[in-house]
Symmetry: C2
Subunit: 357 residues, 2 copies
């Protein structure tokens, strides 16, 4: 049973720090939107029809075609989970916050390594997701494509010869695909070039967000870059375009880091050292401060200024110190003050444990 | 030769963290002003007469009476020292900044452990000082008194039967004595009671200053309390009065620390932990920040939250990270930025060395 594992462990394969360009590219994600031909889009579904969608996907997920192409999957209805457990799935980026609204009619499909997941009855009947560490957009696309093929062997998708896959929101019509990369860009932030770089990206038809969705500032210098256009471009072209832009950003971020190492060596060492010292010894820490200091520490690890902490621990800590994970780890509700105390303690312990390995 | 030792080593006996009440009382000091009967006060001395004073004190310091009562002393003319070395004597509290002005006509007498010193041709011909760790005002007074007796066997002091010892400034006439204690009062600062407490002290005829003289704010929560009145009170009464006030302050500071430990435990642990982490890992540190963090760390050591650093190291670091000591340790002039880098490095090294013992 993968679920218990998922909830007790902050770690997902996407956080393990592997994959190409992992010093800057935290993760690569491909999501596709699919809908069943015979039923209204989710916002118009009756509870009974919503159940039909879930049952249809459950049957498809259990099919030999899916098992062969994508491995073993587990379907979990959202109402089987506690509110905290539902929130944890959001914090691990396995589902979107939208899946928490009207959750009685919604479900999630998970592979044990959490690389593949499917949201059922979110904005569309199905949203297939593949999430991998590092720059692996092609690999993510291939895995999503394999799962998609497996499901389509059973399910009848809403598809139009001219438009492509039909979706609840017209902005997803066509390929129904969103590809994205999560980048850690502290260098560009520190040399004050991030604004210009991101403005240029927007002009290429790409969208930039923070780690936790549209509303959040780019806390921890983590930026998600994704395609805006789904219509009129083949999936492979969308992926290739995003990879190309990502490679440009990698070059710019590395140049910024080199300039910092060369011209502001002491300031950089001071920043990294202070982050390390405070994370190791503070007893009260807000979410915002944790994100900021973990970003500084990650930069220090990548620049080999800090050597006995793996970069993957930073990604894990960013997820692990989100509110729902803290409540889950504590085993009870926490006041905001208690949360800050618990967060600091968890960070101290995890760093100490990593250093004893 | 004690001088080289003095300059290469920040450590003086007064910093060693011994003595009663050493958790709060850093040091106790007694100073007396004396003048030679046959010569004008220092500001009216010709260079030749200034040399006569130095020669007279040198002869007295070498006398059997002084050796027997106060031990072996070395006389050093200020113009034998480099500007940095002169500044170091100020930073170690062995001489006042005034001894640096017109230094060609001035000198200092030092005992090897730096417990006893005499400034020659500062405001008065002689200013005898005893500086001891912890609350040892009576002991300091007895040592100064013994040195004074030894010197008086050779020297002819300016003394008036009615007024007592005559001094250049009338505020010192009488006993010519200033007794002071240096207190670390972070608890009273944190519970916001320090203002009220110090206001009450001023009404008792006592003066409050920061660690480095009148002009400085009480950096590092270090407060020097001294008597204002020298006339009409016996030396023993001045000392007893200051001890009594100090004991009251000790009670108030301890009550504040207990209240903090009880009611703001996490905040206190956070404050101490952050100070420790930043001091151990920062690479750039201003003098002000160092004082603030060292104060927090000292409180943590006294409250046994930090166990592998002796409190005496904190006092030593406060002295060692003053500008002149840094220049001396670096062996060359330092820009303000370099000084902050050097200060941080020195603190990191000293703490690491203490923890390896």
């Amino acid at each position: 049973m993968p679920l218990k594992e998922t909830l007790n462990n902050a770690h997902s394969h996407w956080m393990d720090g592997s994959g190409p360009e992992a010093d800057i590219v935290i993760s690569s994600r491909v999501r596709v939107a699919r809908n069943l031909a015979q039923l209204p889009f989710p916002h118009l579904l009756s509870p009974q029809q919503a159940g039909q969608v879930i049952d249809a996907v459950r049957a498809a997920a259990d099919s030999a075609a899916v098992r062969e192409k994508a491995g073993e999957l587990t379907v979990i209805r959202m109402n089987e989970l506690t509110p905290v457990d539902r929130q944890i799935l959001v914090e691990k980026h396995l589902i979107s916050p939208d899946l928490l609204e009207d959750f009685e009619r919604k479900a999630v499909v998970l592979r044990e390594d959490e690389v593949l997941s499917v949201m059922i009855n979110e904005e569309d009947h199905l949203r297939l997701q593949c999430l991998l560490p590092g720059l692996q957009l092609n690999e993510a696309w291939q895995l999503v494509n394999a799962l998609d093929d497996g499901l389509e062997a059973t399910l009848d998708y809403a598809f139009d010869e001219k438009l492509g896959y039909l979706t609840a929101c017209p902005t997803n019509v066509g390929t129904g695909m969103r590809a994205s990369v999560m980048l850690h860009l502290p260098g560009l932030v520190l040399v004050n070039q991030i604004r210009g770089v991101l403005a240029a990206i927007s002009k290429l038809g790409l969208t930039v967000r923070g780690l936790y969705g549209e509303g959040t500032e780019a806390a921890g210098n983590l930026f998600q870059i994704s395609n805006q256009i789904t219509l009129g471009q083949a999936e492979e072209d969308i992926v290739a375009g995003l990879i190309s832009v990502t490679r440009q950003l990698l070059g710019q971020e590395r140049a910024a880091r080199e300039a910092l190492s060369r011209e502001r060596k002491e300031q950089l060492a001071d920043r990294v050292g202070r982050a390390y010292g405070v994370l190791k010894h503070a007893c009260i820490m807000s979410s915002e401060e944790a994100m900021r200091l973990l970003s500084d520490l990650r930069l220090g690890i990548n620049l080999e200024m800090i050597k006995n902490i793996p970069a993957s621990l930073i990604t894990e800590l960013i997820v692990l110190t989100r509110p729902a994970f803290l409540v889950h780890a504590a085993g009870r509700e926490l006041s905001p003050v208690e949360r800050d105390v618990y967060r600091a303690k968890l960070i101290r312990r995890k760093i100490a444990a990593a250093q004893q390995c």
